[in-house]
Symmetry: C2
């Protein structure tokens, strides 16, 4: 029995940044999210790989008790992403995307996973995300990710699946594109009007905004000495978020805050090295320590008992 | 006797944003900073205006007890800035800058201001900033702002005055340009190696990073429903910061946190309307309330007493 089901891509990535490069390295949204969630909860993934997918990568997942019953092995090559980042590291530049076996991917949820209470629909075709929802039995919480391509090319299908999600997790530009408003609070409100109770706006090195009903909270990104490769940060955040919710088992405001902060903590580890090198090799103590440091960084003391002047006057005439 | 001396521009601004426009509206770094600091401490400004400067704007300052003995009235026109913002509101586009009387500005610090314990050198020619430092008597704290133009054209003079400042307050792109590193932690370290004990990196809608000795803390921007005009946000932040430090009178870590959060609170008001309309007409209660809301937004709870798995294994082979 797993707590968290993650459906998304499993990839071999070629990534170049100013700090190095990797070839055919383990990647994909489901992999990053699963490795993150797995520090907190039991996780199974559903995805597809090709004949070229190294056995050692499957082993990396199974050695960490990540369920791979839903990892389909198809004839052909694994999904490949080739891209690079410049010095600002804020923007991924895609050189090539080869869907390969992912082009014909039709998610089949193993019977043992169909009752998983927490479901992360990582960034895949919203038609497939809906297909997943048809195969599962009333999960307690569904988190949905998407991307600009689906917002443009599968808008109707996306809005249908979005209406059935509890939380939508997108970056700032996706939020603007999806909702047609440049204003992030309005964008979040637009998404909530279309169904989801929660919205997470990911802002990369600037952290994230979490909307939950009428609540709003902000989580900073942990300021890092070393960022080698931002690939997978958003998926790691999503995995850490849903893994924490599954572990704590409630949806109180406090639990959501803890989940978002744990998510930001795990994402900060993920980008410190290429591929999943750092994310896959953490221990609980260092996660806890960095969470505590993030907490200290963000602490705002109560306003002191000092007098504040009032202007006592209207502003300048117009 | 004033607590905070502010030396900078006093301007008439023409600003257009998607939400409206103003002509010859009160602006300038010294004005925004003074109005913000004045909610907390007693403030005097040093700057220059021309014969066209409306008497009502001087009155706006004096009615709020902001000292204007150092506001020189010169023959000619007041400094003018004309610019606009697009929908993202993140970038000011300058249409025209007319230095006018500001071109020959030579700051003369009134005797009554020379012993002010807190000094904000807003963004003016670093040669003039050095001139101010020669006229004051050992202030307890000097905060320095600057901009890309001076970093390029007056680098040597800037580094000299920077070495004598306690805190440098710049935005992200200025920090990168000044230090030659894209990495914000390294940029802050570079600045601290050149003298200042504190560095504040302003990130607009993403808040600010505050470095103080070995301490680092992050302050989010208050998420706003309405942003009409971002002009002056950075100067408002600086004014709120130094005003709070002057009021609390110490430089403990807690005081710096409170100062940065108060600064972010005041900046969030400033951008809600054009010119100083909102900033100039606050009362103490609403400042305190928004501070408290900012504090709630940023709260991170302690990590709960749950078990975290450890990977127990190194990452993938390279």
């Amino acid at each position: 029995m797993i707590d968290v089901l993650i459906v998304g891509s499993v990839a071999l990535d070629d990534v170049r940044t100013p700090f190095g490069e990797v070839h055919a390295a383990l990647g994909g949204s489901a992999v990053y999210a699963a490795l993150a969630a797995n520090y907190l909860s039991s996780v199974g993934i559903v995805g597809v790989v090709g004949a070229d997918f190294p056995e050692k990568y499957v082993r990396l997942l199974t050695e960490r008790d990540i369920g791979v019953e839903g990892l389909e092995h198809a004839a052909g090559d694994t999904f490949r992403w080739k891209g690079y980042y410049d010095y600002d590291l804020g923007t991924a530049h895609t050189l090539e995307t080869c869907l390969n076996v992912f082009a014909d991917f039709a998610p089949k949820i193993p019977a043992a996973y169909q009752s998983a209470p927490f479901l992360f629909l990582a960034n895949i075709d919203p038609v497939l995300q809906a297909e997943v929802l048809r195969q599962v039995h009333k999960p307690r919480l569904v988190i949905l990710d998407t991307m600009n391509y689906w917002i443009t090319h599968q808008r109707e299908a996306l809005l249908e699946v979005l209406a059935r999600a509890d939380v939508v997790m997108v970056n700032e530009s996706e939020a603007r594109q999806l909702t047609g408003t440049p204003h992030v609070l309005q964008a979040a409100r637009w998404i909530r009007r279309h169904g989801p109770r929660g919205v997470v706006i990911k802002k990369g090195e600037h952290g994230a905004l979490v909307f939950w009903g009428d609540q709003l909270f902000v989580v900073p990104a942990f300021p890092l000495e070393t960022i080698k490769d931002p690939t997978g940060a958003g998926d790691t955040f999503a995995g850490g978020f849903i893994g924490t919710l599954a572990k704590l088992g409630d949806l109180s405001e406090q639990t959501l805050r803890v989940a978002a902060s744990t998510a930001a903590t795990l994402a900060s580890f993920a980008v410190e090295d290429f591929s999943v090198h750092r994310l896959a090799s953490l221990d609980g103590g260092e996660i806890r320590d960095r969470y505590q440091r993030l907490r200290s960084l963000a602490l705002i003391d109560p306003f002191p008992g000092i007098a504040l002047r009032s202007s006592g006057r209207p502003g300048p005439e117009r």
